[in-house]
């Protein structure tokens, strides 16, 4: 049946809700005003299940119970979801405790930890430039921007977010999407004197910007202009004037 998704009925924390088949538990809970903590979920990109903070307990119609990441778990008829049991609270605390040890300097993680009842990490502290390896930047760069300039590299404890060879930013158009979407501010972006500086946990890259021919403000990176005109067919000259100065 095209266009008309069928609906399923489930319960979340005892409340009966209706949802479209195939929707993820996390989204359905959020729509119904039920809060589940998350770090690696974002509406613009496909779910990835990296942070595991969104854990909930589910019981299927045939009685199977388990802990799942709600951002990746589709709703089904008769599902019973619990988002706030003792067990879940304990699991979330362990997860945020580990994340806090990984990123002790991140105010986002600190706040989240406090909210979940963890004041201080019980593990040895590390420094990874605030990166929790959630891959939101990687997914945004690939799925939204379409350039895939960054990826997660290496494996296990050496896993890192990086540009190829840690030094090749050829594919990067300096749009800054990674910086906007990063939940822990591990990627920063700064514009000054016609240069955009993007700082990632493993490298710093500078990009030239183009000035607006009316107001003179530098407003877009040169490489982004090239990329947009290449993908849309709009003449590069169109970007000589910034959005503020266009009528």
């Amino acid at each position: 049946m095209k266009g008309e998704a069928s609906m399923v009925t489930l319960t979340i924390d005892g409340r009966t809700v209706q949802a479209e088949e195939g929707a993820m538990v996390l989204d359905v809970a959020t729509e119904n005003g039920i809060f589940i903590p998350t770090l690696c979920a974002h509406e613009s990109v496909t779910p990835y299940g990296a942070c595991r903070l969104c854990l909930v307990e589910v019981k299927t119609a045939n009685g199977r119970e388990r802990l799942v990441t709600s951002c990746l778990y589709p709703v089904e008829e008769g599902l019973e979801v619990t988002t706030d049991s003792e067990k879940i609270i304990r699991n979330r605390q362990t997860i945020i405790d580990l994340l806090l040890a990984r990123c002790p300097e991140s105010t986002v993680i600190q706040d989240m930890a406090r909210k979940l009842g963890v004041e201080e990490s019980s593990y040895p502290l590390e420094d990874h430039g605030n990166c929790i390896l959630c891959a939101l930047c990687v997914r945004a760069c690939q799925e939204v921007v379409g350039v895939s300039a960054i990826s997660l590299v290496n494996r296990g404890v050496e896993r890192e977010m990086a540009i190829p060879f840690f030094d090749d930013s050829t594919a990067c158009i300096a749009c800054g999407s990674c910086s906007y979407i990063c939940p822990t501010n591990a990627i920063s972006m700064e514009d000054s004197d016609g240069i955009r500086t993007i700082r990632m946990p493993n490298n710093v890259t500078e990009f030239e910007m183009v000035p607006c021919k009316v107001c003179g403000n530098y407003w877009m990176p040169q490489k982004q202009v090239e990329y947009i005109s290449k993908t849309t067919g709009i003449e590069p000259e169109f970007f000589d004037t910034c959005t503020n100065c266009r009528d």
Partner: protein
């Protein structure tokens, strides 16, 4: 040891052709490339990326994910030191230290004379014989620090 860029491009080109430039075959293509060149040269990864029209970041991600791939030229002999739990408690770290001293390289590196590359692995399933060192695929069980020197001497 490093090959000319031109040669690399040629070899990678024929591997790409063999797999009909199918991006789903990325891992096999990298395996063949590693076999042909001895390692995954930077030039080779650029070539694979361009040939498959797969972003370089994704090729690099896969190339750095699998232990079997090396982005640096490897030595004539590959030493793997097991640091799995069983070997660890039997003193694998001491063995690794001794090998690092003897070869003057750190784990993950290759000696300048290209004689040895040194890597670590986590459990090779021979725990009862630990600590285990594997050289060119040959298992050396119950390693002791004073066995390191004579063992390495037998590899030219």
């Amino acid at each position: 040891m490093t090959m000319e860029a031109e040669q690399v491009r040629e070899k990678v080109g024929s591997i790409l052709d063999k797999y009909e430039r199918n991006e789903g075959m990325l891992v096999s293509i990298l395996q063949d490339t590693q076999a042909a060149l001895g390692y995954l040269a930077r030039e080779a990864l650029l070539e694979v990326s361009a040939g498959l029209e797969v972003p370089l970041s994704q090729v690099y991600s896969v190339a750095t994910f699998f232990r079997a791939f090396s982005l640096k030229p490897r030595g004539r002999h590959l030493i793997d030191v097991c640091l799995g739990t069983a070997c660890h408690v039997r003193g694998a770290v001491g063995i690794l230290d001794a090998i690092e001293r003897e070869t003057e390289i750190k784990q993950g590196d290759t000696s300048e004379d290209m004689r040895f590359s040194l890597e670590t692995v986590n459990c090779v399933g021979a725990c009862a014989l630990g600590p285990i060192v594997i050289i060119d695929g040959k298992y050396e069980g119950e390693m002791k620090i004073d066995k390191v020197k004579p063992l390495l001497a037998s590899y030219e």
